[in-house]
């Protein structure tokens, strides 16, 4: 663990990634103290200062009802990170468990589980999420649900393939021979050997989940106003390009920073943990 941290800092690219993520996470967690106008995350109207270009005290400018963009971005990060963490916290255990069982048990279990997974994978992710959001009410919870539904099959695929490989290893056979139960073999022998790959994918995915969630809200299917969300901020600002460029550019950059940071970290983790793609 210490060694991993040391390597992460030593490599300039991954150090940069860590820096970006640290900025995003700290900004989101301490938004109440950092944001110059914390009340602007809600339905506040300040027509005296509407549509202002970046400057003091509005470093990223203000939106069409006079709310500070910088403050809103910090609070939007909260939503994005929360969504990313919750989605992965649900999707990963489900996907991993199904993948482990399908890979280890084989036969009918494998056939049924993997075909179900394939059905989910065959629908374009954004279309699946959009249709779910169309059916349900566009709220944060439903947004998480929709993204989770499209995310778990990738973990099933990953872990299924890993399990198929691990299953042939001597220690699995050895465990079976000394009489270990299937559950023991699956969760105590095979799963720990899959953890590096899962961890790497999770880091990379955190960025992508944020991106997908932003896409959903860009289409108006995500978090609803007045709650600040990066995707809907970009969508709102896009109507006023190029004159009020800051309305789009800063939320867009905010998405980029988060996704890029998690990608850099994920790539570095992949190398450190020796996971091959």
């Amino acid at each position: 663990m210490k060694r991993t941290a040391a390597i992460l800092i030593a490599n300039p690219l991954s150090a940069f990634g860590v820096l970006l993520i640290a900025a995003v996470v700290l900004g989101a967690v301490f938004a109440d103290f950092i944001a110059p106008f914390p009340e602007h995350r809600g339905a506040v109207v300040d027509f005296a200062n509407f549509n202002r270009a970046p400057g003091w005290p509005y470093i990223f400018g203000t939106d069409l009802v006079g709310r500070d963009l910088f403050s809103r971005i910090l609070y939007a990060y909260r939503i994005s990170l929360l969504l990313g963490v919750v989605v992965l916290a649900i999707a990963v255990p489900i996907g991993v468990t199904i993948g482990l069982f399908a890979g280890y048990l084989g036969g009918w279990a494998e056939y049924v589980l993997m075909r179900i997974t394939d059905v989910f994978l065959s629908i374009p992710p954004l279309v699946l999420a959009m249709s779910m959001m169309g059916l349900l009410e566009p709220t944060l919870t439903n947004g998480m649900l929709a993204v989770t539904a499209m995310w778990w099959p990738w973990y099933t695929r990953l872990v299924y393939n890993l399990t198929r490989g691990e299953k042939e290893e001597g220690y699995v056979l050895a465990a079976e021979i000394i009489g270990a139960s299937r559950l023991h073999v699956i969760f105590r022998e095979i799963l720990p050997n899959c953890v590096p790959s899962i961890l790497t994918k999770m880091t990379l995915d955190l960025g992508f989940v944020i991106l997908i969630a932003s896409s959903l809200s860009f289409l108006g299917l995500g978090v609803q106003p007045p709650t600040p969300d990066l995707g809907s901020m970009v969508a709102d600002g896009a109507k006023y390009l190029p004159d009020s460029w800051w309305l789009t550019v800063f939320p867009g950059l905010a998405i980029l920073v988060a996704v890029f940071g998690f990608n850099l970290l994920g790539d570095a983790l992949r190398e450190i943990l020796g996971v091959d793609q």
């Binding site: 001597g170 220690y171 021979i177 009489g179 050997n193």
Partner: protein
């Protein structure tokens, strides 16, 4: 069949058939093999790849019977108990306690994510479910000392990938014998190691099984090793036992055409090139040759 208590063989297999169900019908892999191992005896099963050596081992452990496509027929007796009549739970109880196994590649047989002590603890728990880590550590380091590992405490805290192949092989041997099994199945042990290390560990293994009176089924294609290690030898060819004799008798006087071909296949250190043997020949299917005094118990010797 009734035997006096002391004469009950540790393992007796009689007319064992194994077939696999496939789309095109049943394919028979073992065509009725019989073999026995007496208490503390070292018996080798020799044959080429695909001859049915390893499936025999898996049948003895009861692993193949769990595969739905496999059909196993014939008598399997372990310490006088008919294995096919035991419940799944009873069979389960035998594995890892009364019978254990060693594999080809010691390093892949140990899970890389756990230190040796954790895996040793698991093994010892099979024999004594309530054993705690401290006691397991003591027992494990005594067992490792028995396989001449100089610094057992360090090895116990190491991960398998931090140890050499020979070291892992010793750990495997110590683990396999940890619960004092009656039968040890060694499936080409150490084939993945280099020759000198392999020789050392085999030597060690032989001394240990003699000391613990463990019966061994030694599966191998390496005739040199078999000659040194085994008391008795069965030669298997395409799912049939073709010759059975004492190690000394069989190597001095190979009688079955296949056994002779197998012995001729070893390149001589004195030169003469790589010997040529025919892939398959009519005469390899000649009837089984049983050397004097080596009959199956209960059968016509």
């Amino acid at each position: 069949m009734t035997f006096p208590k002391a004469a009950i063989p540790t393992l007796r297999i009689d007319d064992l058939h194994l077939s696999f169900r496939t789309y095109t019908g049943l394919i028979e892999v073992l065509h009725g093999i019989s073999l026995h191992i007496r208490r503390g005896e070292r018996v080798a099963l020799v044959g080429e790849s695909g001859s049915g050596k390893s499936v025999t081992a898996r049948i003895i452990l009861g692993l193949l019977q769990m595969t739905r496509s496999a059909r196993v027929d014939g008598l399997l007796e372990f310490e006088g108990r008919n294995l096919s009549k035991l419940s799944a739970a009873e069979r389960h109880r035998l594995r890892g306690t009364r019978m254990s196994m060693i594999f080809q590649d010691p390093t892949s047989s140990l899970n890389p994510v756990y230190p040796v002590i954790t895996q040793f603890h698991e093994v010892l728990k099979r024999g004594e479910p309530a054993i705690n880590v401290e006691v397991a550590r003591e027992r494990a380091s005594a067992l490792l000392a028995e396989v001449f590992i100089p610094d057992p405490q360090r090895v116990l805290d190491s991960y398998p990938f931090q140890l050499s192949g020979g070291m892992n092989q010793r750990v495997m041997i110590a683990m396999a014998l940890a619960n004092e099994p009656a039968l040890l199945i060694a499936d080409e042990p150490g084939t993945a190691l280099d020759v000198t290390v392999q020789a050392q560990t085999l030597h060690l293994m032989r001394d240990l099984v003699v000391k613990h009176h463990t019966a061994v089924l030694f599966i191998s294609h390496n005739l040199g090793v078999v000659r040194e290690f085994a008391d008795r030898v069965y030669v298997i060819y395409k799912g049939r036992i073709v010759e059975h004799g004492t190690a000394a008798g069989l190597f001095d006087d190979p009688r079955h055409p296949y056994t002779r071909a197998l012995l001729d296949a070893i390149p001589r250190i004195t030169g003469g090139g790589i010997p040529e043997i025919r892939d398959a020949a009519e005469e390899y299917f000649a009837p089984m040759v049983v050397h004097e005094g080596c009959g199956e118990p209960g059968g016509a010797a």
